[in-house]
């Protein structure tokens, strides 16, 4: 093996220009792929994480019927004592119980369907920080008898703080729900669609409106470490003892966002594969050249007693050196760049920045850092080296020593 390494290393520098071109091609493609993949992973993960952190939670606890039939009839009752016990579970970061009901709003001039969301003001301030998104008026207090409405909705139906809004809808088990609410504030909801048609009330006010017993349609839970979700769920189940509740993970809650992110990543991967194919063909042409140039040398070494397998190993080592040098150089350059933009993300300005702010996200694009990011690139480069060595493998396997010596 030592002699193979020695020969491979020295052969690398027989044609310096060719070697540098090969190393450079690996370097540039790997660098570009690392940076782009880090950017894609970082930005999509940021959007997903932010959505989980401030809106949906890592999972939601709900009745087994609620997902398919989203009416207030399918509620769960989680008392304050249980909520506190859940909050005390080590991996739990934040909890927000919510009620979602639908009603028709009327203010004398306009009628519009809206979503009435019952919240625990104190917990919601911790969870979604909805209180920081107030545009006018004040945020809800626990037993506040008023509501706050979405800013686009307020603009659309020309409502402001202090106005009265009538809500009419179907309550618990077919009861009719109707009440007048004073608008205490105007808030910019996270989701633009929701902002155009939502009102928030405290949990007790929402329960009274729809005549439902004490309860919630779901409870959102954010975990410190989502990877330990299974263990955390065991603790949840032990506390509540209910078997007919389901714990729906974020992947199901934001299925469109997750699918969109996955699709973006796949599209980007196709570009990466095309880039790798380009560099792969470049390396293959190098391998074809050097295999043919050294045919006589292979013949001599085989005549002297070197096994054909060792000759192929020698070429693989040579290709491995080229790829490793290119890869190492790209890692050396990319790691500081990735780490820098991971800890000091790019700040978006202008329309792009505003669109991020509108949906409640900080206008930043952080680069993603993960072991998988680097491992996948290393695996691809090694795979290319193996694939390219197929050419000399076939050539050397078929090599006739006498013909090679005559060259």
């Amino acid at each position: 093996m030592r002699i193979l390494l020695k020969i491979a290393w020295r052969n690398l520098w027989r044609n310096k220009r060719r070697t540098w071109i090969a190393i450079s091609s690996v370097f540039f493609v790997t660098l570009m792929c690392l940076l782009l993949k880090s950017l894609t992973d970082g930005s999509t993960n940021y959007i997903i994480d932010s959505t989980i952190e401030r809106q949906t939670g890592t999972f939601q606890v709900m009745s087994s019927e609620y997902w398919d039939d989203r009416t207030v009839d399918n509620f769960i009752t989680v008392d304050e004592n249980t909520l506190k016990k859940w909050e005390a579970i080590p991996n739990v970061k934040r909890i927000a119980p919510r009620i979602e009901a639908f009603a028709m709003s009327w203010n004398g001039a306009h009628t519009k369907p809206i979503s009435l969301i019952g919240i625990d003001p104190a917990r919601e301030s911790q969870f979604s920080r909805l209180n920081t998104r107030m545009q006018k008026g004040k945020f809800l207090s626990p037993n506040e008898n008023g509501i706050i409405i979405g800013s686009k909705y307020a603009e659309g139906v020309n409502l402001s703080v202090g106005d009265t809004l009538a809500l009419i809808g179907q309550g618990y088990h077919g009861n009719s729900a109707a009440a007048l609410f004073v608008i205490k504030g105007i808030v910019k909801a996270f989701d633009p669609l929701q902002d155009a048609g939502c009102a928030y009330a405290s949990l007790t006010v929402a329960q009274d409106f729809i005549s439902m017993p004490e309860g919630e349609t779901y409870v959102s839970v954010v975990l410190e470490n989502p990877n330990k979700m299974d263990k955390t769920l065991m603790a949840f189940k032990q506390i509540n003892g209910k078997n007919d509740w389901v714990y729906r993970p974020w992947q199901e809650l934001i299925i469109d966002t997750a699918a969109g992110a996955a699709s973006d990543k796949k599209t980007m991967e196709i570009y990466f594969y095309i880039l790798y194919m380009v560099v792969g063909f470049g390396l293959l042409s190098t391998m074809i050249m050097l295999t043919n140039e050294r045919r006589k040398e292979f013949g001599v070494m085989a005549a002297l007693g070197m096994k054909k397998r060792s000759l192929i190993e020698g070429l693989f080592i040579e290709m491995f050196f080229v790829n490793t040098l290119g890869l190492l150089a790209s890692l050396l350059i990319s790691i500081p760049i990735i780490l820098y933009f991971h800890y000091f993300p790019i700040h978006l300005t202008g329309a792009m920045g505003k669109s991020f702010e509108d949906i409640g996200f900080e206008p930043i694009v952080p680069f993603g850092v993960s072991v998988n990011l680097f491992v996948s690139q290393i695996a691809i480069v090694v795979f290319i080296a193996v694939l390219i060595t197929l050419y000399p493998y076939l050539k050397i396997k078929q090599m006739n020593i006498i013909d090679a010596l005559r060259k």
Binding site: R2, I7, V300, A302, A303, L304, G305, M306, K307
Partner: protein
């Protein structure tokens, strides 16, 4: 067993090699019978295309005959598997090629050590032997030179040292002086003759060179694939 049979290192019986070139059948070797004894200094001569190189390739296990046998120390080389042939060449045959064929990225010493590395001899041991062999061929001061820094004659002397490195049973030299000037050829032949006399090493040459023929103690003449003398 006669004395001659006891000393015989290579026994060739009814050896033929036939090539099919398009519609034409070429008999490169035609029913060759030959014995070579240990310590012989033999030249195989004949015009181009007479089968000299083909005969050496058969003896060295580089090519398979159409029929017949080549036995080295009683072992039929023609029946060996591919892996056994590789080991046979590595352990029992020393090759000297017309174009030297040193490995260009290795120094003179490393070229000599190459076969010993393949044999698995420890580096320190092979290094000592390589230096000794290079000194024997008069290149003690060029052990770290790469082939491109050596003259043709020096490269061929490294090739001889390389051929001797594995302690082979015999050395096959295909036109070893063809690319050398008179003085280099003379030096090389003197070295090989000395190895033959001092270490009883068997040398088999293919050659056109009258200087080699002059030094040879046995001359085998081939014509159209047959031994004529």
């Amino acid at each position: 067993m006669t004395k001659e049979e006891q000393d015989s290192i290579i026994e060739i019986n009814n050896l033929s090699k036939i090539y099919q070139e398009d519609a034409e059948v070429v008999k490169a070797l035609d029913n060759i019978n030959l014995n070579i004894n240990k310590g012989e200094f033999t030249a195989v001569v004949g015009p181009s295309g007479s089968g000299k190189t083909t005969l050496l390739n058969m003896i060295g296990g580089l090519d398979k005959p159409t029929s017949g046998t080549v036995a080295v120390d009683g072992m039929d080389v023609t029946k060996l598997s591919i892996d056994d042939l590789i080991n046979f060449r590595r352990d029992h045959v020393g090759f000297v090629f017309q174009a030297y064929n040193l490995i260009p990225v290795l120094t003179a010493k490393e070229n000599v050590m190459f076969v010993m590395d393949l044999q698995g001899i420890p580096t320190q041991q092979s290094s000592v032997r390589a230096i000794k062999l290079l000194k024997n061929v008069g290149l003690g001061d060029r052990i770290n030179a790469r082939p491109n820094k050596l003259s043709g004659g020096q490269q061929q002397r490294v090739a001889v040292a390389r051929a001797l490195a594995s302690k082979p049973k015999f050395i096959l030299a295909d036109e070893p002086t063809a690319n050398l000037d008179g003085k280099s050829a003379e030096t090389l032949l003197d070295i090989m003759e000395k190895m033959n006399e001092e270490e009883n090493m068997t040398f088999i040459f293919s050659t056109h060179d009258p200087r080699v023929m002059q030094k040879a103690r046995r001359i085998i003449t081939l014509e159209d694939g047959k031994i004529v003398r």
